[in-house]
Every structure is written in structure tokens, then in C-alpha cells.
Symmetry: C2
Subunit: 203 residues, 2 copies
């Protein structure tokens, strides 16, 4: 059997261009109008495609938005790289949590990320997809950094790394979602110090 390699056809390239235009349009539009008013019609108009093109590829606006996050996370500068590892765990974690806070406070991401979180809260299928495609890869990168710290003796040997990840990032996300207080760089530092040292007095 011979394989017959060809360059992508014009149709394939056109599809890919439409797909990217749709995802970019959805991401832009949700920032402008909010998730409640985001519609397939609106996305189609902004992307310059017919509604049917969108319905052919995605079942709902939530699914479109999810894929636009995925596209962002797959870009070279959109994450997906290892966490910094200078050997100073506390400083590295503070840097990463401060960056997370900066992103959560960025008006460009605020509305789309709230929308994504809302969809996940109400839609268990999307939640499973999110866990598999976005959360798990990010969580694995975080655990890699913690494993390296464990090997260096900076973290308890019997630590459950999933619990550790939840304890570092959970408070940030929760404060952001509930809008209970301002997310500041000091808060990031305070979470890292308190998580590392624990609530009990250290003697």
C-alpha cells in the first residue's frame, strides 16, 4: 500500500480559516456584549460566515466559546509551557499566582472566562471536556513543579499534589468568581506563604 501525501487542499485551508475566524469572533464578541447576549447569529456576522457553517461544527455557543479558549491555549504564547523552576519554590509560586491574578483582572479575559466558568457550572458534558482538554494539562504542569520541589525536599513527601494544587489556585478562582474581595498581588503572596507554612504555629 502506498500513501499518497498531498498538501492541504484549498477547501481544507478555507475551512481552517473560517474556523479560526469564528473562534476569534466569538472571543471578541463575548467581551463586548457579555455571554447572555452572545448569539450564533452575532458570531456568524462578525466572522463573515453563514450561521449554518457554525451549526455544522458546533452544537451551541458554549461549545464555540470553549474551542476559542482551546485555540488560545494552543498558541505559542498562550500557556502550555512548564512553570518556572529556579529552585526557589516560594518565589516561583508567587510569580505564577501573580500572573494568574493579572490575567483574571484583565478586562479582555474577564467576561469570556466568567462565561466559560458559568457554562461549566451548569453543563456537565462541557465540564468533562474542560477537565480533559484544558484543566488536566494545566494541572499536570503545576504538579510537575510541585514534584520537582518534593524531590528537592521543599514539600512534604506524603503530600497529595492534587490537594496542593487546589489549595494554591482554588482560593484565587473562588474569590474571582464570587467577587468577594479584590484580587491583588499581595493576596497571591499571602496564599502562597500560608499554604506552604500551614495554619498551625510553626515551632
Amino acid at each position: 500500500m502506498t500513501t499518497h501525501r498531498t498538501s492541504p487542499s484549498n477547501a481544507t485551508r478555507r475551512n481552517e480559516a473560517s474556523r479560526r475566524a469564528i473562534l476569534a469572533a466569538a472571543f471578541e464578541l463575548v467581551q463586548e456584549v457579555g455571554y447572555a447576549k452572545l448569539s450564533i447569529e452575532g458570531i456568524a456576522a462578525r466572522a463573515g460566515v453563514g450561521k449554518q457553517t457554525i451549526y455544522r461544527w458546533w452544537p451551541s455557543k458554549g461549545a464555540v466559546l470553549f474551542d476559542s479558549f482551546l485555540m488560545l491555549s494552543e498558541q505559542p504564547d498562550g500557556g502550555g509551557s512548564a512553570l518556572p523552576d529556579t529552585g526557589d519554590l516560594e518565589a516561583d509560586l508567587k510569580g505564577v499566582l501573580r500572573a494568574t491574578i493579572e490575567e483574571l483582572n484583565d478586562p479582555r479575559y474577564d467576561e469570556p472566562m466568567r462565561a466559560l466558568n458559568t457554562e461549566i457550572t451548569h453543563d456537565s458534558t462541557l465540564a468533562a471536556l474542560y477537565a480533559e482538554r484544558l484543566d488536566s494539562p494545566m494541572r499536570e504542569l503545576k504538579k510537575q513543579r510541585l514534584r520537582s520541589a518534593q524531590r528537592a525536599g521543599h514539600l512534604a513527601e506524603d503530600l497529595d499534589l492534587d490537594v496542593a494544587v487546589d489549595m494554591l489556585w482554588g482560593p484565587l478562582l473562588n474569590r474571582w468568581l464570587q467577587r468577594s474581595r479584590a484580587l491583588t498581588p499581595d493576596y497571591a503572596d499571602s496564599i502562597v506563604e500560608t499554604a506552604l507554612n500551614g495554619l498551625r504555629p510553626r515551632r
Copy 2:
């Protein structure tokens, strides 16, 4: 000037009965149909009142739902009481976090609480109201228990109690909202132990 005390008029009693019927109807209905399909019309029909009665008292379905949570939290068995204080902080916190998990996993509360959290995420006015009327009083009860532990020397003296509360409850709420993994009693125990001891090795 003399004050003239009267018992509540019939009209006041009728209003209060209608208000309670509306709040109970909203809470029941959101469990059955989900937040997206919850409507003022539906609540009115279930409560046996006219739509206008609801619009006279509340601006939106989110506001109705919020007040139904407030009504629940004001009931004798709906919370609002101090956290257990047996002198064993770890056991007390495990008990409280296990109870929180049980509530979050209860199908009667799941949909209404997700709906409330979604509204808060997108509506900063409601978020402020939530922070003031529901979150702050609960947070104060949690901090009271932590202050008592601090006095007993069980918690670090310089601990930021708000950070401590976020570290104990944030991971639970976040795991629940993101549906990332099952919320189990073991998870509650693990969060309490890890938060108290910290992530670093204890020597």
C-alpha cells in the same frame, strides 16, 4: 408624641404570606427546570400570585432567587449559628467541611446554588449584596472559630483569618463549581489536614 402599636394588619400578613410563597416557589422551581428556564411567569403560577406582585417587589428572577436563599439562611435550622467548638480544631473543621460537602452534593440545593453562583459571577450588584447579606455573616462565624483556636495556641498568631477561611472553603467551592472531581468526605479531611500542616515538610 405617643407611639401607637398595632398588631400586623391583615394586608401585612397577606403580603408576608405571598412573599414567602413566592420565595418557596422560586426555590422549588429552579430545582425542577434549571435556572435558564426559570421565569417570573413560572414562579407566579407556582406561588398562585399575579406576575405584577413579583415585579412590584423584585427587579429580576436572580433577585427573587437571592431572597429565597436569604429566607433559608434565616430559618432556625438553615445556618446562622456558631461553628462547633469542642477544643479540637481539626475535628471541628473536618465536621464542618464534611457538612458543606453534603449540602453541595444534595440534589435539592445543587441547581439553586449553582444558579446563585452564576448570577454572582456575572452581576456585580448581586455579588455585593451576596457578600454583605450572606457571605459576610457566614465568614464571621468561621473567623470566630478560628479566633478561638488562635487564642488556644492552635493557629499561628499572625495568621490572616480571611486567607485561612479562603484556604479551607475555597478549594471545596471551586471543585464543586468546576465539577473537576468528586467531592467526598475524604477530600474534606485532606483539605483540613493539608491546610493546618502546610505543604512544606514539618520537622
